[in-house]
């Protein structure tokens, strides 16, 4: 990741995302899933499961992970890597919250 050229884009308020839930951000052809945990941390992953491209934004969020709705892979919100015995990784994006506004690094 090239920090110098980081471009922070405001995508909305933290409260727009349900706790233990997710919202999508469209970026051209790519969809990015933005997650919010119970303790209000936010994470951004490409909305594509490393298994068969399932939409991760539609999964159940628990313990810093999301379970993919299609075949139940469990993906780390922080790193995008599949947990347990499954292998694969989804792209993750830098994200931060300033005064309640969510900023996505592209």
């Amino acid at each position: 990741m090239n920090v110098q050229s980081q471009n922070w884009v405001a995508i909305g308020q933290v409260t727009d995302i349900p706790r233990q839930g997710s919202r999508c951000v469209k970026n051209g052809d790519m969809t990015i899933a933005v997650f919010r945990t119970t303790d209000d941390r936010v994470f951004a992953l490409e909305d594509k499961c490393p298994h068969k491209n399932g939409p991760l934004s539609q999964g159940i969020v628990h313990d810093g992970c999301v379970t993919c709705p299609l075949h139940n892979w469990v993906i780390s919100l922080e790193t995008g890597t599949a947990q347990g015995a499954d292998e694969g990784q989804t792209a993750s994006f830098p994200i931060k919250v300033e005064d309640g506004t969510v900023l996505l690094g592209l």
């Binding site: 970026n27 051209g28 119970t38 539609q58 313990d63 139940n72």
Partner: protein, 816 residues
């Protein structure tokens, strides 16, 4: 760094793919370059038939993705056919002019489909069945519909025929021999197979000889030797394969039927090996992957160091990959004076079993319909054990050995290590045992995660548990004693009891009080807890949307491509012209690609984009329709037959009663899905006897049945009792439903719950305990007050709005 040896592989099929996997497991001694005439990565050729039939896609059958080549530093030249091997200079050169030097060369050119040079064989629309392009060609042709002729009634021809039929074509199979698959099946099994295919609407002509393919520019038909003409817009020739030896022959290697190798797969040039269908080893050539995989292992051994691995002939069983057709054959089945047959036929079930014995040993078997014992017979064929002791019971299969009835664990213990346990994922007993031992696995969940066994269709779960019980002994805890999931040691039963006893009314409260080991639970326990709370505290508990599986959260079914399906309720399967018009209008307006009648007597709109859900629902709501809950662990459908109003046998208003039941039950959540049916007489046209709850109307009243299953498991219903009036049906069914809602474990269908708590007990409560029944019914009606709110209407009115629109659209914003 020492220079790596250069390995060049010609051909990128399944055989060399497997060889490279073994080679990379052993080390990284080679720098590998692959030339492949096909312009793509290594895929599972076997699975082309499911691709053709539409059950899989190309992506599903890729074996090595681009990442794999990158990871192993393999150079893959796609679409580059090798045309020259210079054995002096040790280089190969491709059609496109790429030259690569090698230290070791592996020729894996596979086979070519054999095309009979009939007049017309070069016309457009004549295809072979070998690779992805052929498969796509057939799928493309099938889009236009019409007639297809498949020449050849062997494994490939029949898979092609079944696939084309599933794609909607009218299919005729032309086969030269008197019975189908004559090399793998005896005439009796061939006959059963023919009858099955004909039952599916495929025309099968045996002893038919093709004279010519008709047409001027493209195929128009096929003319048989006896003068018959069959119209066809597509002709698939599947009459056999020939090892592809051209390159090897031109390079001066010894070639017979295939590329001749010794038992280490080395050709007549010591630096050149060959693997796959192009090989002739021990005088044999092979056309199924199991022996090719054995070759792959042998070569990898020799390439990665001194090895004494040798290829040995083993019989490979044949199965046909046509959904719903079960056949199994292995070994020899020709008749002979020194051979003895044991045959078992069951005309009712359409099964046929035949075991062929010579000198008290099994040398072959042919099974049709009931193939469960195929693996067992093959074990004995391979081991060469004497069957003398069990000759009398041999044909009944493994379950009947050793004193009848049979202990399932003993049967599993008897299986050899390479006996296949999970058919979907091809996992053997030995692999499961090894994973358990190496990984210290103790739960079914672990075994699934590490081996994939029983993780697909799940029908082998019992076998997998058996293997676990044998491997772990006392350390194996049966799953129902297991905790709900990895987050707790409490079982479902405990949790349900404690929620009520301790009056726990939220998910965090349950997790706190029952000492969950994870902070927020997981995707298994959260939906279960949410259901228990919804069911136990109606009107009090607020449904936790984030603990619901996506389908129940957005009230539509997610599809494999991330779109959704929408199924409006059609009470009792009855609709009106207005409803149908509204459905048609919605389908047009939102360009919904597929409109399908479901197996549950209603209509499914498939492929709806998530952002279209709200407006689609609005239009359906406006026409008076509500969600059919086709996604819910709750009431799905009440199927009915026409009944008294129309049917000459109808004894009661089965349609009307079904509609009343659906009005009573819709909206209710349950441990698992709940499906009902009402039939107007014992002819049972709405299939009441395999539903969760079924009603059969008779002259004197209504028989209530329950605990049927017709999905992963099949079983008929058990009678609950008989009542005289419709009002009673509603009350008894409502009470039964509530008892199940109250006691069932999450994802436990009625039949599993009843198996667990006992059919007699349930019958006793609902039929004989007047007060208990009234109380359950009252509770049910109370909980329905909060459940019967159409979720579509709620969302159209603005609930859960965040679900249905993206949070931001960056490209749009940039443009603004």
């Amino acid at each position: 760094m020492t220079q790596k040896l250069k390995l060049v592989v010609v051909g990128n099929g399944m055989a060399p793919g497997r060889m490279l996997e073994h080679l990379f497991e052993a080390g990284d001694a080679y720098e590998v370059t692959i030339f492949n005439a096909e312009p793509r990565v290594n895929y599972d050729r076997i699975m082309l038939s499911p691709v053709l039939s539409g059950e899989k896609t190309y992506e599903d059958i890729i074996i090595h993705s681009d990442d794999w080549y990158a990871e192993h530093g393999v150079t893959l030249h796609r679409g580059e056919k090798v045309t020259k091997i210079d054995r002096e200079a040790k280089t190969v050169t491709s059609e496109g002019g790429i030259t690569a030097p090698y230290d070791k060369l592996v020729i894996a050119t596979g086979s070519n489909p054999f095309i009979i040079p009939l007049p017309g064989h070069k016309l457009k629309g004549v295809l072979a069945y070998r690779d992805l392009d052929d498969t796509h060609g057939m799928m493309e042709a099938a889009k236009k519909g019409g007639n297809a002729v498949v020449i050849g009634g062997g494994l490939l021809g029949l898979e092609a025929a079944a696939g084309l039929k599933m794609q909607g074509m009218d299919v005729t199979v032309i086969h030269l021999m008197p019975s189908l698959m004559e090399r793998q099946l005896d005439p009796a099994a061939g006959f059963l197979l023919k009858r099955e295919l004909e039952g599916r609407g495929i025309e099968v002509l045996c002893e038919a000889n093709t004279k010519q393919i008709l047409g001027t520019e493209k195929v128009e038909g096929v003319e048989l030797a006896d003068g018959r003409v069959i119209d066809a817009s597509l002709v698939v020739m599947a009459v056999g394969i020939r090892p592809n030896t051209q390159l090897a022959a031109e390079s001066g290697l010894e070639v017979g039927r295939g590329i001749v190798t010794d038992s280490t797969l080395r050709t007549s040039d010591p630096n050149i090996y060959s693997v796959g269908e192009c090989v002739e080893v021990g005088g044999m050539v092979y056309g199924l992957v199991a022996p090719l995989y054995q070759m792959a292992r042998v070569i990898a051994g020799h390439l990665s160091g001194p090895s004494d691995a040798e290829f040995k002939h083993v019989e490979t069983p044949t199965k046909l990959k046509v959904t719903g057709v079960n056949l199994y054959s292995v070994g020899e089945f020709g008749e002979g004076p020194d051979r003895e047959d044991i045959v078992l036929r069951d005309a009712m079930r359409g099964t046929y079993k035949r075991v062929i014995i010579k000198d008290d040993k099994i040398i072959g078997c042919v099974l049709y319909g009931d193939v469960a014992d195929g693996g067992w017979y093959n074990e004995m064929l391979k081991s060469g054990d004497s069957i003398q002791e069990m000759r009398d019971t041999l044909i009944f299969g493994q379950a009947y050995q050793g004193g009848g009835g049979g202990d399932p664990l003993a049967a599993i213990a008897n299986l050899s290590d390479d006996a296949e346990i999970c058919g979907c994922n091809g996992i053997s007993k030995g692999q499961i045992v090894k994973a358990i031992q190496d990984g210290g696995l103790t739960t079914l969940g672990d075994v699934r995660a590490h081996t994939k066994a029983s993780a697909s269709c799940g029908t082998c779960t019992g076998l997998v548990e058996g293997v676990m019980a044998l491997t772990l002994g006392d350390a194996f805890a049966l799953p129902d004693a297991e905790g709900m999931c990895g987050c707790t040691a409490h079982s479902h039963g405990h949790v349900r009891r404690l929620i009520k006893a301790k009056e726990l009314k939220s998910i965090p409260a349950v997790m706190q009080d029952l000492e969950w080991s994870t902070p927020e639970g997981c995707a298994k326990c959260r939906p279960a807890l949410n259901y228990y709370l919804v069911s136990d505290w109606p009107g009090e508990y607020v449904d936790d949307m984030q603990s619901r599986f996506i389908n129940e959260r957005v009230h539509a079914n997610i599809q494999k491509d991330g779109t959704y399906s929408v199924v409006p309720r059609m009470f009792g399967g009855v609709t009106t012209p207005d409803e149908l018009r509204a459905i048609a209008d919605v389908a047009d307006k939102f360009e919904i690609p597929t409109v399908k009648v479901t197996g549950g007597q209603r209509i499914d709109l498939l492929g709806v984009k998530k952002e279209d859900l709200l407006p689609v629902w609005k239009d359906l709501n406006d026409a008076g329709m509500i969600s059919g809950a086709a996604y819910a662990k709750g009431l799905r459908t009440v199927k009915t037959c026409v009944g008294q109003d129309w049917c000459r046998f109808g004894t009661q208003d089965s349609t009307g009663l079904g509609i009343k039941l659906e009005h009573l039950l819709w909206g209710s959540w349950a441990p698992a899905k709940l499906k009902l049916a009402v039939s107007g007489c014992p002819r049972n046209c709405s299939e009441s006897t395999c539903k969760d709850i079924g009603i059969i109307c008779v002259d004197s009243g209504f028989e209530i049945l329950y605990g049927g299953a017709a999905g992963l498991h099949i079983q008929g219903t058990t009678p609950l009792g008989k009542v005289a009036t419709e009002e009673e049906v509603l009350e008894y069914v409502g009470a039964l439903t509530q008892m199940y809602r109250d006691q069932g474990f999450y994802l436990e269908r009625i039949y599993k719950w009843a198996d667990r708590v006992g059919y007699d007990h349930i019958q006793d409560v609902i039929m004989n305990d007047h007060d208990a029944r009234k109380e359950y019914y009252k509770q049910f009606l109370f909980s329905q007050k909060f459940a019967q709110i159409d979720p579509w209407a709620e969302r159209v009115a603005g609930a859960e709005a965040h679900e249905f629109s993206p949070m931001a659209d960056l490209k749009l914003e940039a443009a603004e």
